[in-house]
Amino acid sequence: MSEMIQFTLNGAERSVAAEPDLMLIDVIRDVFNLTGTKHGCDNATCGTCTVVVNGKAVKSCNFPIEKAANAEVMTIEYLAKGTVLHPIQKAIAESGAVQCGFCTPGIVMELYGLLENKADASEAEITNVLSKHLCRCTGYEPIRNGALMAQKLMQARAAAK
């Protein structure tokens, strides 16, 4: 009998049998059918598989499932509440940061990991986290613009509370 790993996935208690080489991305995509998290490369280079674990953005393609034991895992599917987008999603959609959209979920989760913890992150910090992601379409300017726009929306949201 293989060990059962318990964790929270998008707010729900989940468990999965541990297997050698089973990565978090395989569990997210293949066991729970959450296909917003993408496979773009073979070795944690491109960032399309980024999810948030215990509040921190991680690459799920080299994150062994054992490490997710008792953790809170959040994927792109958990950000919008019905038709209400998270401010990061709204900003990324409106800034021109979406072209093919394959890198988008990973980038949104990366920014979530940064901005939900540090609403006043500097532009250099934003650029640093974005440098862990590859985008072949946009030349990055609209992604940076989207991140800055998201930051403003999130600050406004916090001020309104």
């Binding site: 490369c41 072209q99 394959f102």
Partner: protein, 775 residues
Amino acid sequence: MGYKYIGKSYIRPDAIGKVTGKAIFLDDIRIPGMLHATILRPEYAHAKILKIETGEAEACPGVVKVVTGASCHYHYGDNIRDLVPMAVDKVRYIGEPVAAVIADTPKHAKAALEKIHVTYQPLPVYIDARQAMSQDAVLIHENLGDYWHLPTLDPVPGTNIANRYHLKKGRGGEGFGEADVIVEGEFDYPFGSCAALEPHGAIVWFKEDKTIEVWSSSICPFIIRDDLALSYGVPAADVRVHIPDIGGCFGYKSDITVEQTIAWIASFVPGSPVKWVATRQEDFTSTLIAHGIRTHMKIGAKKDGRLVAIQSTIYHSTGAYADTGVNISIAATHNSTGPYEFPHCEMTGYTVYTNTPAVGAYRGYGHQEAQLATERMMDMLARKLGMDKFELRAMNYLGEGKINALGERMYKYNGDIQTCAREVQADVFGKELPKEDEQFFYGRGFAAVMKSPKGAPFSTKSCFMKMNTDGSVNINMGGAEVGQGLRTIIRQVAAEALMIPPEKIRVYNELDTQFSPYEWQTIGSMFTMQGGRAIIRTADKLIKVLKETAAQALKTDVDYLEYDGQFIYLRSDPAMRIAVGDLARGYITGDGITIGDYAQAAADARLPRYANPDKNGQGSTGVTYTFGAQAVELRIEKKSGKIFVDRFSSMFDVGQVVNPLQIRGSVLGGVTMAIGAALHEELLFDDEGHILNPQLFKYHIPTIKDAPEQKIEFLETPDMIGPFGARGIGEHSVIGAAPAILNAIHDATGIDFYAIPITPEKMKQALEGMKEVAA
């Protein structure tokens, strides 16, 4: 211009699906009963297959079938039918499919793959076209003479030359007799990869009813449909191809490639859908690669700078199969004039078989490769003439009344390169260049560019529209959305044509050959122009249907009616009107009797008067051109040789900007990609044909830290063909970066480079060499 919806930055209709992770890409598709395939790749880039042992693999857990190419007796291809879905008796490149495992899970399929044993007899390996063209070279395709090919192609059986294209304008090479000054050089645009973030993949299902259903991350569903129908002897109508959202293309998801391989594999397990998605490594080794173009160029001019003759020879190392590369060689050849008029042209393009993966489309399609030579040579010619490089170019630009290499006459509506060049020059060269300091050399470089699409006689795009009773409209087209934003463009063009707000127009998401109107393939930066024209034609037909119905209801003539998006009304008395929604299902009269047709329409559009080349290699094969200018400001770090692109400036005459946000995004991305190619991207092969860097951590595509500040401007000289004057722009932004950067390196250091990429190591080595010369 006074447009209501054109020229405004509407947000993409697919943005929300993409930011919420709900957009469906190929790998996200799961079909009940689906099996998974893995594919064995060879140890040698060129070898005879002596024996394949599959017994051990067949006995592995979960394995349903092990497939080889031994029984495959067909070739496929759209231009030259030289492709096989799986190696039959020899392998021709390192990533070729040799065998495949079909299993219940990807894991089982992968485990069993290692249990297939193949015995090879290695053959000589050729990476560069010149090696493969040598007299004693072993043939990569022994049966080249037997392959079907388009009548316009000219293969040379008994050699590795898959095609020879020759163009002569004026007196050709004899024109150099009129030249006072001649410059000559050879330039190399090496192998690369489109490296879209989404790797290729396909699902193929040979169904019990003998139809074939396919899902693919491709931009040409109708080519896949027709090609599979031909290969498997079924009616095209019985092959149904679906295209979900595509995670970037940049060229290499055009043409038919992996779909034929997955179809071959799936044909062994009829009844079961078979899925395969490339690993990133396979995406590099086993799909289409890019470029591989050497350009040998000679340019002659009069003392005063007037260009008289050009001779260019394209040596295209096209890889193991030429079907996907042959048109790139041809495009590189006749577009090697760049944006200049030469009275005399002698141009030859060789498409040559080599032992690399097949070269296929890459954004720019031969233009950046050949124009790297042209724009370097123009700087060199200016130096030799002792002339200002901008003045030299300005004297020779194609423009109204000038004739290009193909013999096509340029009109005012083709755009104004003179203004683009002047504006970019003023932007980048209008201020003082920083002086060399302890740390850096500083330089600026310029390139003017031109691009035409590569068409085909049947290269049409079509549109279907239907109006609903609330006046909203659904639109289906065959154009593949790869990220370029064509769904937004369709909405805006249709809104303008139908005079209704874009919000009332819903554009299709996926393509499906059963439901989508026909499109050849979404290539050549042509969707806005051709697709837009198809939209306007369809809208005109739809409005005509509404008017015909209204004419009966209002008891008048069709030509006495007007349309304003909301109503059909009497020209003389606008109060006599019927809402368009009330005409959508035909007009229902008071007693329930309904008159007129349903308000729906379809139309298509080709490039007008596209023609095959004649015996001189000339003809109306370009049809439409977009011109522009680009320039760069850079710094070279003396210690490391690292090049920092500080600023990049572009201006294109696009006829009419449809969506300012999207068009800026397109150019931002194209320039960034091309800077990657100029400074660090190269797919590296060893002498045995192994690829040394088939991973994204070894093949570096630009990150946010490599992306320069960009100034991007557009000129709007309305086009005669495109919708509301718009022209193509998708690929053009990649053309000028490499020559502008190399020209800037010369400006900074006096060093002439003839090949890219200029890595820090190469730059440093050159700087050290320069010191030695100085010492």
